[in-house]
């Protein structure tokens, strides 16, 4: 219960943060469309299908097998660590249920980069 509460409060502060930063005038159109691409790849059933297991952003009907992907910058200050988790989660947990997206060729390197950027923005 306490844990849920903590996750919630992280979610709320993350929301508050994006609320502020989201309207920052420095947001470049290019970045935005790259993030959109990453989001599409992450949500797509034939691609990342991350929503099968993770609550993330405004994704519809998420599963709850993995932890919610929120406040990612706080938990993954180093983007390379995040990318490694997506490429092959077995490095961290050999028995993980999360598919090895890079190693098994589910996603290309480029697709993983786009997803990493998107997830990092959550």
């Amino acid at each position: 219960m306490r844990k849920t509460f903590r996750v919630l409060s992280i979610a709320v502060s993350a929301l508050a943060l994006t609320g502020v930063l989201g309207i920052a005038p420095t947001a470049i159109a290019d970045d935005k469309s790259a993030l959109e691409k990453g989001k599409k790849l992450a949500f797509g059933i034939k691609k990342g299908n991350c929503l099968a297991c993770h609550m993330m952003s405004d994704g519809d009907q998420p599963g709850n097998i993995g932890p919610p992907l929120i406040a990612m910058k706080a938990r993954f200050p180093d983007k390379a660590v995040l990318k490694a988790q997506i490429s092959d989660a077995r490095a961290k947990n050999p028995n993980t249920i999360m598919p090895p997206f890079g190693t098994h060729g589910i996603l290309t390197e480029k697709e993983i980069d786009l997803i990493t950027d998107f997830v990092h923005s959550l």
């Binding site: 929503l51 599963g63 097998i65 077995r90 050999p94 028995n95 249920i97 098994h104 060729g105 589910i106």
Partner: protein
Amino acid sequence: MKKLISSVALLIIALPFVTVQASTPAEDTEAFRSYFKKAVPDVKFEDFQNGVYALDADSREQWIEIEEFPPYELAIDKGTELWEKPFKNGKSFASCFGEDISGTRAKYPYHDEAQDTIVTLEGDINKCLTDNGEKPYKWKKGNIAAVSAYIAYEGRGKKVDVHPKTDKAKAWYDKGKKFFYAKRGQLNLACADCHVYNFNRKVRSELLSPALGHPTHFPVFRTKWGEMGTLHRRYGGCNKNIRAKPFKAQSDEYKALEYFQAVMSNGLELNGPGARK
């Protein structure tokens, strides 16, 4: 090549999990049951034969409504018709299974020591046809599911009671067990990943059923199929979902898997045919 190496490496990781513990089927069954009992203490043992409906009150209500006009009823009717229809040689299914089939469903699956194979109900339905000079049915749906549904219906209320006794039978059990716990497919998932370690959680909006009780209610009318299907049809579907090449219905792999799943479900009531989303 890289893919190949990684899947070999992964097998090595996955295997100790299964083979290190030298346990008997009865011990495995006990451990399996207590795992689920501990995970969802409020669910009664007898309720595990009801899949996700043992876990979630809302979908259980919908399901009970569906059961008032069971979608598998037509299949039972069709199965009865096929059961009674004489073959060209004048005999019928009763010549293979006997007149009283109240105990027939509960005999399967079993290990045939002489042939060293697992005999399934569907296997024997088709064997009865070919032994009598008839054409066998297709394996996953249609007539085979209808006859299987009729036999399941007549055999409702008996309990799953499958015990590997000989070394050969035990080898089939072990093969099924290994299959169940091994990661496979592009998504690298084992049956156990979804139906043991993460049962009662959701993949997207779908609640994952406990593997305890999986085989009790087959064949099943699945809303998504809009028709009946056998247990091996469902196995194929779950294998496809993880982007693994499905095995053929009634392949040795799926027969071993059915055998293992039955042993895990010992003591639960046979309540087929069933209805599922």
